[in-house]
């Protein structure tokens, strides 16, 4: 536990001592708030609600930006050889994986927290359901954490950050597109319905949309927890296998 905390501190300091985290947070704020006030029709809708104007865009933004945060987590360690130092210290690989994952999550917690002006605005303008807003933030964070875990899994497979970024973005796009009704409906028509159902279950959208409506469902929580845990365990298995 102590080594997890030590690695978490090192990774967090590494993120915030370089421009990467600030740039990604800035781009996220510009995109999420910009889209809410333009295509999201936040002001014109006349509804004190953040579901569609604001949270709707998050998976679309995360699928590009979350891999940019997590791509360096294991690619750098493998390219610079520092994994040899880390793996010969008296700690488990699992501690290092958890420490790094939590540091990447912290960057996104900061980014999401900095969108607070839109919460203040909607409360000023109307009388929103703040429970649903809180649930929406949790849903957004879990989608982002799933993408971070997936990128971490990919970063364990390669030393090349660019390869990691491209593959991770492709996988995240796949997970987002799998939940779009129009796409799935067309797919079900052209192939078969069971394949469409499988794809929907892989996608984040089906789980995310319930949360932004303020509905906590056990199956959604289990899906996010299972996705994140599977990716982290996969990372551990790949890193161990690469050394064997």
């Amino acid at each position: 536990m102590r080594t997890t905390w030590t690695i978490f501190k090192r990774e967090t300091a590494s993120y915030f001592s370089q421009p990467t985290a600030y740039a990604i947070i800035f781009i996220f704020l510009v995109l999420s708030l910009g889209l809410a006030f333009t295509f999201g029709r936040f002001m014109r809708a006349g509804d004190a609600n953040l579901e569609w104007p604001f949270f709707f865009w998050h998976p679309l933004i995360f699928m590009f930006l979350a891999p940019a945060v997590a791509m360096r987590l294991w690619t750098d360690e493998q390219r610079n050889g520092t994994i040899e130092l880390l793996a010969t210290m008296p700690t488990s690989l699992w501690s290092a994986i958890c420490g790094k994952f939590l540091a990447a999550c912290l960057v996104w917690l900061v980014a999401l927290a900095l969108t607070f002006p839109i919460v203040l605005t909607v409360n000023y303008l109307g009388n929103p359901d703040n429970g649903a807003i809180l649930s929406g933030y949790l849903g957004s964070f879990l989608v982002c954490a799933s993408f971070l875990a997936l990128t971490m899994l990919v970063s364990a497979c390669t030393r090349d950050q660019v390869v990691c970024l491209i593959v991770s973005i492709a996988l995240c796009i796949f997970m987002v597109l799998c939940g779009y009704d129009d796409l799935i409906r067309e797919l079900a028509k052209s192939t078969n319905e069971s394949l469409a159902e499988v794809l929907v279950s892989v996608g984040v959208w089906d789980h995310f949309r319930w949360m932004v409506r303020g509905m906590f469902r056990v199956q959604d929580m289990v899906w996010f927890a299972a996705t994140i845990t599977t990716c982290l365990l996969g990372t551990s298995a790949i890193l161990s296998a690469r050394r064997a």
Partner: protein
């Protein structure tokens, strides 16, 4: 203090290390010699727990690296061949991180930091970012993390590589000094270092130990009394014989 028993490592169909068995006692400095690709770094990586052996076992201070890796690793200081470092940290920040990973806290950590910075002559660059350091300073920073927690066992993979003659002399003296109380294995291509720092040396070729003894014993077995000639004789003999056999 270090006991390797029938240590073997296969990478696919290639055998990098073939049944190495040796021990190193406290107060002994073992020079690990051999040509490139002989299996020196692979052996060191198995001893430090970075690579799992295909078969065999390693005991550090009586603790099995395979059964209790965290306890065994806590007794080892390791300088990898490429001296890897986190480029975005300062020297002091990096050493502090390594100390915390080794369980050092408070005054114990502060004392360990000052001692290793002094020992490795890192004072002038202690607050400097690692990515701005010269190769010599980087190497010494990595050496400082290896001795930071005052380990009983030191595994140093080519510790003088990339250093200037003065720095090489300092590192050899440091190894000789630390070797009075610790068990040290260090690999090198520079045969003069065997005389300068080792109490014992082994020559490894194609994953096997071909000779093991004190520097004086090794020299006595050389036809010319030279370690270089003995090294060449032992590590090119089979290759030469194979070349002759192929031409017949």
């Amino acid at each position: 203090m270090i006991a390797a028993t029938d240590l073997t490592k296969h990478f696919g169909s290639k055998t990098a290390v073939a049944g190495l068995t040796f021990t190193v006692k406290a107060g002994e400095v073992l020079g690990f010699l051999g040509p490139n690709g002989a299996g020196k770094s692979t052996t060191m990586r198995m001893i430090t727990g970075f690579l799992p052996p295909s078969s065999g076992d390693i005991h550090i201070g009586g603790i099995s690296m395979l059964d209790s890796p965290a306890q065994a690793k806590a007794m080892i200081g390791y300088l990898p061949e490429s001296a890897p470092l986190y480029q975005d940290m300062t020297v002091r920040g990096f050493l502090k991180f390594c100390g915390q990973m080794r369980g050092l806290r408070g005054s114990a950590l502060r004392d360990a930091l000052e001692r290793s910075i002094d020992t490795c002559f890192l004072g002038p660059v202690a607050t400097q970012a690692i990515d701005t350091l010269s190769k010599g300073y980087r190497h010494r920073t990595c050496l400082a993390q290896a001795i930071l927690h005052d380990p009983q066992v030191l595994i140093l993979d080519e510790p003088t590589d990339g250093l200037d003659p003065n720095q090489k002399h300092e590192v050899r003296q440091l190894i000789a000094r630390l070797g009075k109380t610790k068990a040290i294995i260090f690999s090198t291509h520079i045969l003069e270092e065997v005389d300068a720092a080792c109490t014992r040396a082994v020559i490894v070729d194609r994953g096997k130990i071909v000779i093991d003894g004190s520097p004086a014993d090794l020299r006595a077995q050389s036809p010319t009394g030279s370690l270089t000639d003995l090294f060449r004789h032992l590590t090119t003999r089979d290759a030469g014989a194979a070349a002759v056999a192929n031409t017949l």
